[in-house]
Structures are given as C-alpha cells and as structure tokens.
Amino acid sequence: MKAAVVVFPGTWSDGDCSWALQKIGIDVRKIWHRESSFEKNELIVLPGGFSYGDYLRCGSIAQFSPVMQGVRSHAENGGLVIGICNGFQILCESGLLPGALIRNQSLQFRCEDTYLVPGSNSPFTKNIGTGQVLQIPISHGEGNYYADKQTLDLLEDQDRVAFRYSSVMGEVNKSSNPNGSSRNIAGIVNEKGNVLGMMPHPERACEGLLGSEDGNQIWLSILEEYL
C-alpha cells in the first residue's frame, strides 16, 4: 500500500503521519499543495496543522489549493482519503464531507487524550474489533462538529459516524465529549465510505513509547481491506 501525505503551507502533521505510516510498512510520499496528481491506489492523507494559518476560517483557504482538485477526483473515483484534524476541516470546507467544525465549546484549544468508539461501516474501521475503545489524543481549537438535525440523523441512519468520543469504558456521554461536538461525533465518512474525516490524531498514537498504539488500528484496518 502507498500513501500520499499532502503538505499545505502551514501543515505540521505531515511528518508525524509519514512517520506513523512508514512504521507499519506503508510507502509514503509527500505532496506539496501545488501538485495535484495521485496514483489510483494511493491513500491520500490530509494531515493536521494550520493550513494558510487557518486565517479567515479553518480549512477555508486550503479548499482552493490546486491539490484539492486531485483529492476531489481521487475521492470521486473511489480512492481512499483520510483527513485528520485540519484535514477534516478542509474536507468539510470542500464539501467532501457534510457539516462544519466550529470553535470548541470551552472556547479554548484542547490537547489531551480522548477515547473513541469506532463505527463499522467503512474500510477505516471495519476491521477494528467490536467493543474496542481507542485511546487517541486530540489537539485543536475548532473541533466541535456541527451539522443540522437532518444531516446528523442521516449520518446515523447510514452508519457513517466513524468515531464517537467516549469514556475509557466506552460510554458515550456528555462528560466524555471534549469539545461540544454534536452527538459526540469525532469522525465521519462520506456516503461511499471512502473519505474519512476525524479530529483526533491517530498518527500520534502509534507507539507504546508515546503512550498509545491504538491509532495503528486504523491503518491496519485499511491494509486488511486492500491487501
């Protein structure tokens, strides 16, 4: 499996994503935002950071970057795309995923461990064992997922919620919601299930030395599906 990690001006998780993917044996190349061609079977990673300084609104300028044309057609052709943190914001701004990420309810940046209950209906989470709770940190100021009721209902009806914030025991409730996200949503997929956006950083949870290896489950799920 190959992965293309997109670098916008201001992206800073490109190194972390490359590190984590290479560690489990995936070939990684970095793509500067001015390029736009991808290989068909590549996993596109839109990493975290502050693309274009997140000026105006998080992810809003990045959507006009040349690389996003390539990302769009890759997604339309069924290729895999994962947007993490700022990448999730960019996917929402680009219309590839519904909803928006607004300011955390606390009005403050939050960097801390969260616990996630995965959904089942996408290659990103399909092969994660049932009942598993993943420990993966967040790091954002605007990670509060918002969508209207109709959209939220649709996401749930179609089993498109990829991750919900939970307690360490897997209980999804208000006290386990770090940013005020609607229905504790931490990540969603598109209708086809080939585009995932998530606020937590799985690439930061890929080594025991750093506190958690649970992030690897996402990469392994993809590998199992596509090998």
Binding site: P9, G10, W12, S13, G15, D16, W19, A20, G48, G49, F50, Y52, G53, D54, Y55, Q108, F109, R110, C111, E112, P137, S139, G141, H201, E203, R204, C206, E207, L209, L210, G211
Partner: protein, 734 residues
Amino acid sequence: MNSELLQKVAMTEDEYDRLVSMLNREPNELEIGIVGALWSEHCGYKHSRPLFHHFPTEGKEILTKVGEENAGAIDLGDGWCAVFKMESHNHPSAIEPYQGAATGVGGILRDIFAMGMRPVALLDSLRFGPLDDRTNKYLFNGVVSGVGGYGNCVGVPTVGGEVQFDESYSGNPLVNAMCVGIGRVDDLLSASASGPGNPLLLVGADTGRDGIHGATFASVELDENAEEMRPAVQVGNPFLEKLLLEACVELAEMHNNWIVGLQDLGAAGLTSSAIEAASRAGTGIEIDVMLVPRREEMMTAYEVMLSESQERMLVIPKKEYLDDVVELFRRWEIRADVIGFVTDDGQVTVREGQEIVARMPISIPTDPPMYSQLTIRPSELDQLHNQDFNLIPDTVNPGVELLNLLGSSNITSRKMIYKQYDHQVQNNTVVLPGGDAAVLRIKGLEQGIAVTTDCNARLVSLDPRIGASIAVAEAARNIVATGSRPVAVTDCLNFGNPEKPTVAYQLEQSVIGISDACRKLGTPVVSGNASLYNETPVGQILPTPSIGMLGVIDRSLDSLTIAPKENNILVLVGSEFKQSIDSLAGSEYVTQKLGFIAGKPYIDLDYELKVQKFVLDAHKAKLLTAAHDCSDGGVAVALAEMVLATSLGLDAAGVDCGLRFDASLFGEAQSRFIIATDSQKSLSVLQKMLSDSEISFSIIGLVRGDRFKLGPIDLSICAMLEEYENGLHKLLDA
C-alpha cells in the same frame, strides 16, 4: 543635542557624550537611533555583562561559546546536537498580553532555527500577580492564549514550563520562553556576515512601523503611561514563521554550503541583526533602506532600520548561490530581497538610495558602556532571616492545610494551562507535562533529552546567592527525577532597576549563586538573557533568575515519571521525614501563614550532588519505578502529586512527623526526592546504597487503597482531586 530623541532611545547624556567622542562628531538622528538601540540594556547588557565572567561556560559537551551564536549548542553524540535558549518578553506582555507572549515565542523559535536546527520543544516560565485581581486575570488569560496561539500554529510542542504568582508581579508579568532545537552537528549554522561582496538577503515579512523602540521599551521601568507604548509591541504571524522555519531548516540540512550566515531579526530589528552579524565576522555592511520591502508607505530610514516587525531573517548567501537561496525561499512562498552586501571596511553604512544616511565603525554600536553598579545588601534581610517560626502555632488540622495547599495558586495542577498547548506534535514527547521535566525522544537515536525551567523567587528574595543556587539545583533535580543527567543551563535574569543598589546586589549575588551551583553540578551556562527594569509604580518584582535546563537520558525508553504503580514502596531520600522548624523558610505554607516571605534558605551543594547521583545510580540499576522532586508544598504535596497521577491512595499513617508537624509535612528543605520501588528486595539494595553514601532517608509507605494516609492526615483521593484539578479554574472564575 536632541534630548527628546535621547529619551526615546533611553540614552543618557553621558552616553551621548561618549558616542560623540567615539565618532569625533555629532551623530545624526538615525545614528543615535542605531546606537541607542544597541546600547540599550536589552541589546547591550550594559548592567549585566560585567557579571557574566562568573558563569562557568565550558564543558566537554558544549559546542559553542556563549554570546558567539544565537543559542548554546550541546553535543548529543552520534553526530547530533541540541541547541537551546531562553528569552524574556516581559514588557510587551504587560501591555498586550496575547501578542507580547506570542511574539516572545516567535522570537525564541527564530533564535533556534537561525542556527539551522529544527525546534522540537518550547517551554514557558511565567509569573503573574495574584488572580483575585482583574487585571492579573486578564494578563494571565492573554499570555496563556498567546503562548498557545503561536506555538500551536507553528507545530512545535509546548512541553513544559512553570507558573508562579506573587503580588510583586502585578502589572509586570514575566514571560520567559525557552526553545530547544535538534539537528546534525554538521548542519549548525553561524550568524556571521563574512565574505565581503556577499549579499544581505532579507527574508520573510515586510517591514512595518510596528515595534519601533521595542528594545528601548524593554529597558525602562513601566510607568502609568506604559499603555502608550502599545505601538512598541509587535504583532505575530505564526503561519509565516512556520514557512520560514521550514525553509531555514531545509537550507541548513540540504544546502549548508550555499550560505555563510543566518541571523534572526529580533530586538532592534535590522540594526542589531546586521551589525551583530558583521561584528562576529569582523567585516562591515552596507544596507540600502530603499531596497527593504515595506508594508507601510512613507517610512523613514530611521523607521526601517529600527522596526521590529516579526518573522524576518537575514540570510548571507555566498554570492554565487544567491539565486538558489532566493529560489528556495520562493518555493516556500516567502519573499527574499537583497538589501545590501558585506563590505571589508568595518563600517556600518546605511543608504537611502544614493544618499548615505548613517555611517560609523561597527565597533561603536557593539561597544556599549559597561556599568558596575554600587551594590547594597537589602537591610531587611537579617530580620527576615531571623523570623521566629515558633511564634506560629503548629497545625492542628494538617489534612485541611494540605487540601488548601493543593488548591492554592502556586501549587495547584497546571493541567488547565498545558492542555491549551499542543504538547505532542512531532511525535517525540515521551514524558508529558505535569511531572518534573518533559522527556523527548530523538527519532533514530536511543538517547533522549529532558527539559525543564525552574526558579523559586521567594528564596532568591531572601538570599539571592543561595536562592539562585537552589533554582539551579531544583532544575537539576527535575531532570534527574526523569532518570536524565543534567547537562547545561540557559538563564533569564529578571530583575528590577539595576541602578538601585539593592537590586544590583540581587543581580550580582544571583549570578554568583547560579555560577556556584552550575560549577558544582557540572552544568555550564550556554546561553541566556537579562530583563531588567521590571518595575511598576508600586515596586520591583521578586528577583527571578529563571533557569532553563537540558539533560540527556541514555535511553528515552527508560524515562521515569512521577506516577508510581500499585503496591510500590515510597521512600523519601535526602532527609528524614521529621524536620526542624527551619525547613519552613520561604515555604509556600509559611508564606501563607505569615502573609510575607521569611526565613533563611539553605542548601549544601555537595550534598545535593550526592543525592542526585544516588537517584541516577539507582535508576541505572533499574531499582526505581517513579521519582519526584520535593519542592513547593513540601513532602506532603510531593506525595499527593505522585498518587494523584495514579488512581490510587497512599498508606503511610506510620511516618514520624517529629515535633513540628507543619515543618515535616510542608517544609521545603532542599536536596530531597521521593522515589518509588516495587519490591522489598530492591528496597534493601537502595537502603544499602543510601547508607553507604551517607544520605538520610525515611521509608514512607505503600501506594494502595483509595485514601491518602500520611501521619495525621487521612483524606479521600476524591477530595484531593477536587482541589488539585480545579484550583486554577476556581481562582479564575471567582
């Protein structure tokens, strides 16, 4: 002579006369501006440099000479090195806390990547007045947001620091930012402008009118009109900084041979940057201000030369590689303009088109006057040292006292602060904030680095020499508690007006005290910064020589945290549990009881070294499962912090609290750790090692249950968490 201008650049009439005699003529306005900025305390260190000879600065692992480069460099082995430095941004933060703190972070980052190293960690040592005051709350919130706003955006983790509160910092907060960079020794860049004919390339932001006289503003006391200095505060653009960072690191890592020098633009902007770079190389420079890209119209040469617009760097490429360097920056979408060139005439020449608007030998601005101040020991010290603590009745309810301490501003958990900072980006943070020091792995190496900042200003105020030694010792203890070996120090000397003899005494004695401890502990001072004139109309700050320390651990995998495991045995090392009343000197507990700071601080540096060596030896022998430095709040607070980092309790009802419970529980005697071990067998080895080294100790008890039982104290862990976790929230919301 233009006395209004002299006042603007904080140049005295004597200094003006000195300048005239050096020049052999009257300087023009721009020349006064240039010299005034470089002779300011902030750039010229005219009151502090005469003391720097005290510092030990050499060691086998030290790669740079202090002052020669932007930051000190440490050899990590295998061709790798670490560079680090701490710098103050106090006065700007007093006026505009968000931007003041943000640009403080931006400035220290540039010092590090100017050396070609990738910044891997930020730390912040902060001081504020009490949070029951609205202005202090505003400053606190603004500074914390500013530190996070900048650091989070550039993708460098903020992994540590400290926050302390004292009335003396009301209206004059301290914001000391430290940055650590890592890279290959071969990629270290110099900040020198060598090779006459080489171009001067200004890269990054356009130049505006922001921050003019910032260096001067940092070198005078804050008065009631300080608000009017708001235009001297710069505005940060962390996005541009991130691009600059990547471009400069790429330049160092891939194309080291293209350039001769790289220098950041900090205080006094282009003036200090270009002149210092030329001075280092023994060359001259010529700059045409018309070539400097501007963000505002009608700027004068004076404004261009003294602007402190952020996110700018001066690159000195070899002339044959100019186009390649410009192209590299363009690829990162950064503008790069040739604004002049290196000369061989030893002069700084500033042109505005064809016209020469300033010209003088480089040796003039780089030779500030040096002042040896009259020092007088504050007369009240004797009385404070002799304060009779026996007049304070011993505690009758130590449990309530402990809860109170756990919720008080100087001790309560800093989690609400550090969770606003990205402390994990770059995937290196092995030991997270919340313990003694942070530990970072270095990808591809077994070794890791430990970093911390420390300074108990209460103790420095009581005895500047001993207190400053203690600041170094405590920083080293933080490093040792992670299993790392202390290696080197950076300092930030925050003091009041040095022209006052009692402040000059504090400054001089603190420098000597830092030097005493650094010599004893084998941790040379490799970089630093002085911030003087920290005074408001109400008074001066507590003398605060912040210490930043870097340590090395052989295997980052072996790092210790403060969190023990269930059924671990806890041992107090360095003293017995029972303490005499003297150990309350300068403690948080006694300061709260008295309402003022009193007592005589004490440290035996030989003993300190011995205790630290024991902990490192015990760790090496794999006998430890956790370790924690005993500092603010004494043994009781240290133990509470350890068990609160787990979800367990403490079973230590049997400890002997001696004659004074308060001193044994909350006294802050130095040179002490709490260590944890997991078996009786290990314990007996540890006991033997301790006896052989003649180090006092007490076995405290076991980590288990859900209550905190320590001598007379019996508390529920829940009640303690309630105070410890919510302390800052409660103070801010009140």
